[in-house]
């Protein structure tokens, strides 16, 4: 496991960057006591799981210390450990694939697509929760609908991440491992990794205890210094718009409008008791981990 420095950004996030401290805290966090039953059982000393010995009970369950103390055969029954159902939704709609192949040559710097960052974050979270014993499911939100990727274990997350990395985090590679929308799933924890530009995501889950909105934009969408008048900037969804660079930058119009919109998104999240976190590909991994951990 590599140690992430403060300068390393989300553009280089790897599932194995999971912080041990963060991992432990996740594991012991009380809110992860959910409805998911682990296979493992262990004896419990709490009175609720104790009873008198009845002929035929396994001898190994007898609490010999209590017998020595009280001369009574007390059975300590096994306590069932519970963990959480975790759903991670990656938005893969068209705006998340920016910068696309046509746009990339005209950009001042090589930045990863938003989908790549979303995949990195999704893999990181899947790995972390999987290590904690949670039941993790990855969902891909496309223009056509919701698809799911079954994540059996943390090692499966690593192999999936390796495959994505090898394929350049393309949409085709992300969808390649996915299946059609599954039956109803009610997670305890839900993460939505999206730029929210294609509109708010549809109602995916019936009920979710803790919901995160990881608002992800490209650093070039946040930083406007690269816009200039030689080019025009267009978007044909949902209606065609086209502006010159000066029209966007004059008077900080772009930044003002973007900031206002971010606040709107945050306010909307707060209204529905969602936890909001704004990220770009330039967000340092450390601060991301802290933000995730601080709010748990």
């Amino acid at each position: 496991m590599t140690t992430a420095s403060a300068e390393v950004t989300l553009a280089a996030l790897d599932p194995r960057d999971a912080d041990e401290r963060h991992y432990n805290r996740t594991k012991t966090s009380p809110r992860y006591h959910g409805s998911f039953f682990l296979r493992m059982r262990r004896p419990s000393r709490t009175p609720a799981f104790s009873r008198r010995y009845v002929a035929g009970d396994p001898i190994r369950l007898i609490d010999w210390r209590a017998f020595a103390r009280t001369d009574q055969l007390i059975i300590r029954e096994q306590r069932e450990e519970a963990s959480a159902r975790v759903a991670i939704v990656l938005d893969a709609r068209d705006s998340m694939q920016w910068p696309d192949a046509e746009t990339r040559p005209h950009l001042p710097a090589a930045v990863p697509t938003k989908l790549e960052i979303a995949c990195r974050i999704g893999a990181y979270l899947s790995f972390t929760h999987g290590k904690s014993g949670d039941d993790v499911r990855l969902f891909i939100l496309t223009d056509e609908g919701l698809r799911t990727i079954a994540v059996a274990s943390s090692s499966a997350v690593l192999s999936l991440f390796t495959y994505w990395e090898h394929e350049g985090f393309s949409l085709a590679s992300v969808l390649a491992q996915s299946e059609d929308r599954p039956a109803t799933y009610n997670p305890d924890v839900g993460y939505l990794i999206s730029d929210v530009l294609s509109g708010p995501p549809p109602k995916i889950f019936e009920q979710v205890r803790v919901s995160w909105i990881l608002h992800l934009l490209s650093s070039l969408e946040v930083e406007t210094a690269w816009l200039h008048d030689e080019h025009s900037y267009f978007e044909s969804q949902p209606v065609a718009k086209e502006y010159l660079g000066s029209a966007l930058t004059t008077g900080g119009a772009y930044n003002q409008r973007l900031g206002a919109w971010r606040r709107e998104v945050e306010a909307t999240a707060e209204q529905s008791s969602d936890r909001y976190l704004f990220l770009t590909d330039q967000t340092p991994i450390r601060s991301f981990q802290e933000a995730i951990g601080a709010m748990e």
């Binding site: 530009l197 969408e221 978007e235 029209a247 772009y254 973007l258």
Partner: protein, 857 residues
Amino acid sequence: MTGLALILTPSIMTVLVTVAAAFGLFLWWLLRRRRQRIRLPTLRIMELENRRLPRLIWTFPPWIAFACFVATALSFAFFSARPARPVLIPTHPDEHRVHIFVDLSPSVASAVKIEDLAARVAKLIDQLRVNNQVTLSGSSFGVQEVLDGQAAERQILAAGFHRGGVHLGEALKTQTPELGDVDRLMLVSDRDQHSWEDLNWSFLQESMEIFRVPAGNEAHKRDVNFFFQTVRGVPSSDNARQEWDVEIAANRPLDQDREGALEVRKGEKVLFESPWRIPKGKERAQLRVGWPENDAAPGADTLEWRLEIADALDADNLYRTHSVGTRPDVLVLSDPGGERFLEDPAHHLEVTLDVLGFQVSRWDRLDNNWKAAAAFPLWIVQGGTGRGLGASCPTVYAQWRRDPRTLPEGVKKPPVVWLSPFDEPANYRELCHCYARLTAEDGNETMPSYCEDVQTRDQWVGVLKSLGARQIGGDVGDFSGAIAWHRKDDKSGAEVLAFTVPLRPRLAAGMTYGDLPRVLRSLLRWQGFLKDSSPDDSWPRPADISALNAEEKASAHDANVPAGESLLVDYDDALLPPLWTDAESAASGAAMLRRDESDPMPWLHILAVVILGATLLEATFKISRKLRQGLKSRASVLILLGGLFAAEQGRAEIVLNLVGYPEPVSSVMRLAREVAGRTSIDLAPTPQNTPALNAKTWEQPWLWVRTPRQLLDEKGRLAPEVADWVKRGGFLVIENANDRTLDKLTAAGFPFLKENEGWKPIPPDHELMRSFHLLDALPVCPGQVWQGFHFDERLAMLAIPYSLLDQVVDQPKPVPCLGSTDPERGTRIFINLLMVALATDYKKDQIHLPEILKRLR
């Protein structure tokens, strides 16, 4: 109007086209240099309306627009630089078009000499040429642009006065295509009624100015004019004389007695000379003149008639005709049918010959007067009366023919004989006998064998043809239409013309009262007995030479002057256009009117060409782009080309995919025809039937099984492919199903059935009831209804309580539980089922259909 004229000049047009072309090129270049566009999804949330670029986004350089523009520019350049024919348009916008038309008719010649007229026109042109484009035309020459007066003078002198007449209206109408748009029309003419009577110059004044320029000094009162009114040959009572009736006329009643002389010349020889006189108060003199035939000089047969008198117009004192020969006497041999002319077969013949100028001698029969008869050059024999040949077919004729020396003295050759039936029908046997006598080589008087059976006209024609005569009249190859058959002996010159129709008006024979003179005239002219005298074709009296073609116009210089020109009747000045005076020329030039309507047709033509070209270019471009998009690689091009040439005709059809139906399965030809006729789907006329489920079964989109049992194997288990195939989109039709068999099917290990909603009756508003035809209900067997199994929001399996297929095949079988079978209902259900199988509920959005179905029920 002036602005329009300015724009339409060729030089301005050229400049405009050049500027437009340069501007178009600039536009093209400008559009090519569009900005590099970068997609930025965050713009979805931007609302900076007042700083936006226009929504119009150029995604492709406007090649089509450019091509259209080039086509337009080329069209403009072509049409403005190279007119199809020379058009007379002023080269300077301030110039006006002035056209001068010179009347060179005989009536003008009476008032002015050609030199004076030419000089006057030359002077006029020199006056007008300063600020105008001047064109000139005459009654005998076409429109031409004149550069100076001298050229016009030369042109007029070269043309000279002509002898034909002129109608100014017709002459101007003929020259209109060459004339173009004229601002001012000047007619150099006199006031002659004949010239002006057809010109509606008031109408022309709406689009141009019109002036009349006097051709000569009209103040001078014209003298009396004398001319030939008629000259025509008359039948002479004496063979040796030519006789003519001549009528000499004056243009008005005379104030005093006038005398003149008439001279007739043939070449250099004067045939006749005589004085004539028209007394005071009269205007006509009629003469009969004649001269011995022998006086006529050989060679030229043109007669020149001259009036020797001093009068207004010299041209009409000369008149030309053909010389007319004398007419021979004709002997008509015809047995009279009665006293009244309708009964006499030769009556109309005699009258006609008389009218044509022949002296006719009518004999009933020839008897022995053949010596006297030999003097007649033409005999017309009307035979076939059935009263015996008489002596009208003399055997002596055959002798004359064989040996002309036996002719009576003074007779050079045997007469020409016309042998005609006296009526229709006639006794053709007798006619044939007569013909045989006239043409017999040996003088045999007995009837030849070929005449014995001749009863009808057709047989008569057949005999004439077989005897080697020449057909006269009728069509080639149509012998029955011939009027006569001609036979000529070259040695003696004897000619026999055997007619197949009577020479009298007879409707049955196709000879009308009008035909008889025409036929006779033609035949007489053909055999040299008749020469025409009047009216004379060679020297017509053309009332308007502008209506003649070029060849006729050339010969019209020798024509006879028409009487209308010779009359010299003048119109009053009030009826003629305003008179042009030289003093007016300077003042009126500036105030010249101009037509204010312009012809849009050339522009419309150009636009049509441009639109057509643009459409073609657009279509070509679109198709090529589609092809280019579709054909990314060379391999795909090869496949497409190979497919075009090698592939069989593509065809898409659905096959009835049956399992377990008893062989032989009836064809569904009728059903296929119905399906193809009502829908756009082709159904194969031959079903594909297999006894049991196999791999081939699953290749089709639907499957019909005879009973639910067909889906089970020997051990009563369900084939696993069934569920897979249905899940993949297959449509299963189970016939003869009931609740018991369906339960059995479910029990036979069809977990797929258990997992889903199971079998449910088809509701009345199901898509099956409305997918093509609107059905009120599905036929049911007692206690059994149609049941459907829905999967993936579509009807996947259908259980029919009876055999629908038995109802719709070509040899339908009775369906016991339904009672009477209704093929049409079965066909409708089948078509609905087919539509559901192929397209599921494609009418889902037509929300009004359930309401219609409710009303239907």
